[in-house]
Symmetry: C2
Subunit: 485 residues, 2 copies
């Protein structure tokens, strides 16, 4: 009996093995296709990834010239290895990350090298027996203290890599068995090669299709506002349209876009940290207020959280009966739509780096709608209604009121950004090319949504005769008065 | 006039400089105190940080013995440097991260070294002119391809460091100007020193006060459930108690604890990735279902998002009038409290690794309360009420209903975890020491909240006389019958 089961098992294993062998080509092919599909997707999602890979190859090839050209090789010897190592570990996706790592590596190597030589010299004075003990003590202490410093959040955000290199260099220099003059020569060579490697990285990173962390953060924050705007713009109609239409979820991607906003905190903080290393570029100055983007991001996430709560009512089956709630429905739809449009306008203001119109027409509309809703509810003409049905609509209305407040906060924060970063006042004839195609608002809309205003510019010349000057200005004003819509 | 302003400016700068000099000791002292305070806080928040720093110092000192002991030094020469480098970059806070990095570094060095030697050999066959061109091509291609592979999310999560080391080693080996036999000798030495460094890290990391990423994830998920539980348990009373009491926000930290849950996704995913490298330890097997913790984490965040929406009503001034809403108030308080207790019980079940009671008494209670609320609202005895006041309560009630559903989902997910990870069935006399002091539920509560039950244990001895045996069991049962509460 037992032998029989053993044979069966053996046969089972054989059969499975044979099946696996038979399916191997098919499975390998399927896996290959899957990998090819993923590769294509990763490249298409962000073509800069392909460019980054090529850039790293370029920087590495450039640095390896050290080895090929004999005169250089003779000068630096094996130390040229450090240039290659530096390129591999320092070259990062964004300019900010590359500069940050390069600076960290260079400075940490320099400081730790100097301190290491000092430690080595001090220990060598204590004689043959004392030397290893003292060096061991120095290495232990500096490693422990520096590692602990890495836990400080502010230090971790900007100097983490530098501290690792500090421990590394200090240990290598202080425990190496060389004489002091040998160490100095070695340190000099190593530092130069590291500088060569780091500057190759920075130069390639900046001058070959640069990827700026700051610009990415800027676009990310604008993207997030737009996603929330898209949801809110469509929510009202979606919710009150009833369950029949909501079944066609085909092109309703705007309803799930907000979800990526919820978990964006780490990415945003990381990019803000990297952006601080970057020099001025394009529309961004060196000391661009990156902190303010984090504030907008936090408010955006708060709003997204409310939208998440709102979203659960989209799929709930309890919908309000049409007859009773027509007025509520109308106001809620307005609140939702206007908040959404306000967010999209703020998103566009960030994208084009123009001051958001203040007060924002859409925010005024949504606030008015919220007030109307309150007074409607206070009027008390609500007898004989099914409260279970009311409760869902009440919750939606209440969440929408919160969202309107949330949008106001975001608008305030964006206005603050516009002031800090000295955004331009909106030019009315923004060329179509300046607005990204995915911004969702056309130039035409932009022109319509600004109120007509009078722009008066005054030429100030040095005052010689004040009365005359005043008259001159008056006539000048009249001439330059110009209604721009 | 201008000279006067120049003098004034100079005086201003001097005054400011003098003030700065005068304040320097005070400011330095204040800064020193601030740093000391932060240091203490970072150490107290997680004392394992101090231990980690000392562990790194220990590992580094151990490895530097390579330099001190001359026979070892003669064997490995300058390659001993690689052991030091390996310790500094591989030693991480948790065991999982250290093992992961060590394995990545070791394997990548081995594979890339072998391929590098091959590339070097191939290129050298093409002659003096072709060699640098071919090597340049190889380096460029492998760097570009490997860098692109780093963008695959699954690869990035586990093998990112290995790929960096792959590029590094391949480049160093293939472009080095050495002869093939020299390279082989060098590669052998380097690989051995890296293995020595990596194993020192892993051994120190595991045997000196180990920090397990898996255990951290386990506790984090339990912590989060407890934080949400604390909020919900207190919310009902807090909300309906009116604004008088809510002004005393002194020891109301339970109301903000949930906020840390909202942004926990990255941390959890990171720890789950690291935990997969860890061998079995303590209560966790090697293939513990870490993925399931991520599922619970996602549901917890969803619940936290609803709590965030709920929280905004705590501070709103519109409270429901007491007379009308007494019944709603009562039911809502029950829903909130019971959901909170259910979450805390689930948290305790995870902490003690026991199966959660199913069906959970608190979940049943909260679901019943939710049903009561619905039927109360349907009864329609709600005339002459101020709808503006109702709307806030309606939103709270509606959110609470959502939260009850959310808690049910979490309970289901925890039960699934208990099955996958083979949690023990709850022992009724859990020793006090097994429950962490911050679990919030004392053993007494644990005993009370379980229903009284009869435990019958039967001694099975090989059956010789079945009738006799049966009689024996009967008497045995009576003797062992024991009511444990």
């Amino acid at each position: 009996m037992e032998m029989g089961s053993g044979n069966n098992e053996k046969a089972g294993i054989l059969t499975r093995g044979w099946r696996w062998m038979k399916d191997l080509p098919k499975n390998s092919f399927a896996k290959g296709v899957e990998i090819a599909r993923q590769t294509k997707k990763i490249g298409q999602d962000d073509p800069r990834r392909v460019i980054h890979s090529l850039k790293l190859g370029l920087a590495l090839t450039l640095v390896s010239l050290f080895y090929y050209f004999q005169p250089l090789y003779k000068n630096f010897g094996v130390s040229a290895m450090w240039a290659v190592m530096t390129v591999v570990v320092v070259f990062e996706f964004s300019v900010g990350a590359t500069i940050g790592k390069g600076l960290n590596r260079g400075l940490a190597t320099f400081i730790a090298g100097a301190l290491g030589v000092g430690a080595h010299y001090l220990a060598s004075m204590t004689g043959k027996v004392g030397e290893p003990i003292f060096i061991g003590l120095f290495v232990f202490l500096q490693a422990a203290v520096t590692t602990f410093i890495r836990f400080f959040p502010k230090v971790k955000a900007r100097y983490d890599y530098g501290l690792v290199i500090f421990i590394l260099t200090f240990s290598l220099v202080s425990i190496s068995g060389f004489r002091t003059d040998e160490i100095l020569d070695l340190a000099h060579k190593r530092l130069s090669t590291i500088l060569v490697g780091a500057s190759t990285c920075v130069i390639v990173s900046i001058f070959v299709c640069p990827v700026w962390a700051g610009e990415d953060l800027h676009n990310l924050v604008a993207d997030h506002l737009e996603k929330l705007g898209n949801f809110l713009e469509g929510f009202g109609e979606e919710y009150f349209a009833g369950s029949v239409e909501t079944e066609f979820k085909d092109n309703k991607s705007f309803l799930v876009g907000y979800k990526s906003v919820l978990n964006s905190k780490t990415t945003e903080e990381n990019q803000a940290n990297l952006a601080r290393w970057e020099p001025g570029h394009g529309k961004f100055m060196y000391l661009h207020p990156w902190e303010q983007y984090l504030k907008i991001g936090a408010l955006t996430r708060k709003c997204a959280c409310r939208i998440e709560a709102l979203n659960s009512y989209l799929n709930s089956e309890i919908k309000a009966p049409e007859e009773v709630f027509q007025r509520v429905q109308e106001i809620c739809t307005i609140m939702s739509k206007e908040s959404g449009q306000a967010l999209k306008e703020l998103s566009l203001a960030i994208r084009t780096m123009t001051k958001p119109s203040s007060p924002n027409r859409h925010i005024v509309n949504s606030t008015t709608a919220a007030q109307n809703l309150e007074s409607l509810l206070k009027s008390g003409s609500w007898e004989d209604i099914n409260l279970r049905r009311l409760i869902s609509v009440a919750a939606v209305a209440s969440l929408l009121i919160d969202i309107v407040i949330s949008v106001e906060d975001i608008a305030e924060s964006v206005t603050e950004l516009a002031t800090l970063a000295k955004f331009q006042s909106p030019e009315l004839n923004v060329p179509e090319s300046k607005i990204p195609s995915n911004a969702g608002i056309s130039t035409k809309q932009l022109q319509v949504q600004d109120c007509p205003r009078v722009i008066i510019s005054i030429n100030l010349t040095p005052a010689t005769d004040e009365v005359h000057q005043s008259q001159f200005q008056d006539s000048n004003q009249e001439a330059k008065q110009n209604v721009q819509v």
